[in-house]
Point group: C2
Chain length 367, copies 2
């Protein structure tokens, strides 16, 4: 039987998800809906969706998996509005770039069936015209399960990511928001501030003559779509303010060093930043041979958060995960794929101290 997926919001991300699913070879029907009739029609024309709906409610009714892919500031409202329209056994996820507020609304509307997500892929372009089936290939796809998340909801969302070629990774919603504030939202604001600080300092020819490659790199993202960014910044207001405060404090501290001529301390700072940058992107992480672990777990909400949190604290990333339900009911077998023998060993020990009995098993590539 074919799986029914509803994609609400057929822009760059929603359109790419739909297109990727349809091209993945899986038996899946994708119904699309977008407030913008032109975007919806384009999604149908390029074959991203197999059908369009007259409303978001109509799109989600009868779906096994609902993907909320509208701009992030519209997701909480959509959760509230669609609470009654989604089937009781359907899984709901989203693609918003801030998670605390979205997850709160998602869980209020759908309970444990909601599992928040944030695919780390995009494009400087936007809209269905820029959609492509390969957009998520090899990208990280952040999942933000909580104590309430049903294992099946996590699993279904992780499987969606994997089908599109992405690598799912679980992060706590508030940790996610703090990190994206510092890794994405703050750099965006800062790039825009740097451009305007420079642009007011001289005429275009002089600026262009003196703007080297570094300035191009640093300010590239300032050319992004302002409407999308307002939606993102609104949705992560607290964490963005906190990050902005941290940066301003750091710049004040740097100014103090320059003012005082404390070049030794400034050199130390630049060197620490250099090492942090090199370390961060030095090599692909999660390298190492995949190792599969499995353990019996009680089939209740919260277990998954417990396990993924333990893994996160150890830096042992879970590359893939599935839950095989026991025929006896009330129990299931959790299968985890971890990269590298070391990480697998550490995770086994940590789970053992939590009372789980962990076994190694073969890696089943078809999870």
């Amino acid at each position: 039987m074919a799986e029914h997926v509803a994609v609400v919001g057929t822009g760059l991300i929603g359109g790419s998800i739909a297109l990727g699913l349809r091209r993945s070879g899986a038996a899946v029907s994708v119904v699309g809906y977008d407030n913008d009739p032109a975007a919806m029609k384009a999604a149908l024309d390029i074959g991203a969706v197999s059908a369009v709906a007259a409303s978001a409610e109509e799109a989600v009714s009868g779906a096994d998996l609902v993907v909320l892919a509208m701009p992030v500031d519209q997701i909480p409202v959509a959760c509230d509005a669609l609470a009654g329209a989604v089937a009781d056994d359907a899984i709901v996820t989203d693609v918003g770039s801030a998670k605390v507020d979205v997850v709160a609304h998602g869980e209020a509307a759908f309970g444990g069936r909601f599992a928040g997500g944030h695919p780390m892929a995009g494009s400087e372009r936007h809209g269905i015209g820029a959609a492509e089936a390969q957009l998520f290939d090899s990208a990280w796809w952040i999942l933000t399960p909580t104590q309430r998340t049903w294992p099946a909801a996590y699993r279904g969302t992780a499987r969606l990511a994997a089908r599109l070629g992405a690598k799912p990774v679980a992060v706590d919603p508030s940790v996610h928001d703090t990190l994206v504030a510092r890794l994405s939202h703050l750099p965006q604001l800062t790039a825009s501030a740097l451009v305007t600080t420079a642009a007011t300092a001289g005429d275009r020819d002089a600026l262009l003559g003196l703007a080297a490659g570094g300035f191009r790199d640093v300010t590239r993202i300032a050319a992004s779509n302002p409407d999308l960014w307002i939606a993102i910044l609104r949705s992560n207001r607290e964490a963005v303010l906190e990050a902005l405060g941290a940066l301003r404090g750091r710049l004040a501290w740097l100014g103090g060093m320059i003012e005082a001529g404390d070049w030794a301390q400034l050199r130390e700072f630049l060197d620490a930043a250099r090492r942090a940058r090199l370390d961060l992107f030095a090599k692909p992480t999660f390298a190492g041979t995949p190792v599969a672990l499995s353990t019996m777990i009680p089939d209740r909400p919260g277990v998954l958060a417990e396990v993924t949190t333990a893994a996160g604290e150890l830096g042992a990333n879970i590359e893939d995960l599935r839950i095989v339900h026991s025929s006896e009911g009330g129990k299931g077998r959790l299968e985890l794929i971890v990269a590298g023998a070391d990480a697998a060993e550490r995770l086994s020990s940590a789970l053992a101290t939590l009372g789980y009995r962990v076994e190694r098993s073969g890696v089943d590539k078809d999870v």
Copy 2:
């Protein structure tokens, strides 16, 4: 008769200048000197210099053109030290990335024979091992003439840049320093601050999972050499502090908008930044057919600064320039190449109001 060039400091920039000159086909001998004997030997081994000297004094004596290519904080000292060793008719230039202090020392030591320069090319690597003859190909080469600069010194330095494939452009030294503070030195400090702000917010795996392409771009320059950057920041301390203050003020203003929920104003700011970024790198500047202008000028210092400043104020960039001395003495013909008929027209009018009688002439590609 072969031209004699001395390059003091045979690192990435000095080595690349030497290599480019030797490969340019011009009859030129290049003598090199470096405080680091290994760097000097490497310059000789790769054929960047035709000979090495036992001291900087020995290298510059007998040279027609002296290029000071040591780290920028050592250039003022080098000017002071070499004042007596350079021939009275030799031209002296430098490659320092901050100019006010360097030009002051250069003029104190060499008078109008000194013309400051700043080639806008580099590499994340450094040292003679990274030197390449093509480093300056199609790059801007900023020249910072003042009222004291001899036309011959400007001309000789511009010709050096052109020989290496670079495009010379004249900017006032203090304007240069303000602009590079905002276009280069501030972005460098900010990229380092953004890296450390992010790196303290979570573990490496979570950071890496969430760090998208934008963060990579923004922070790429944070991996640069701290020692070079300390030298640069020291040399441009006042302008860097001013730029840092401007950025901090802007970030505080942005924080205020987010705090107040003034999304309309924030959107306007992001949109202005977006347009500034797109405009800045929208198209190559100085496009348009080259137009040659020529005018008689009194052969005295200051004339050149007057003309180049007038052009700069009009945004009419001088792509090339030469002075043909009159056989009568005391006068010369200044020939300018300007890109595009519009710019040529505006410059002609401006120079006319300054009392110069300007004629159009054919473009002589061999200037």
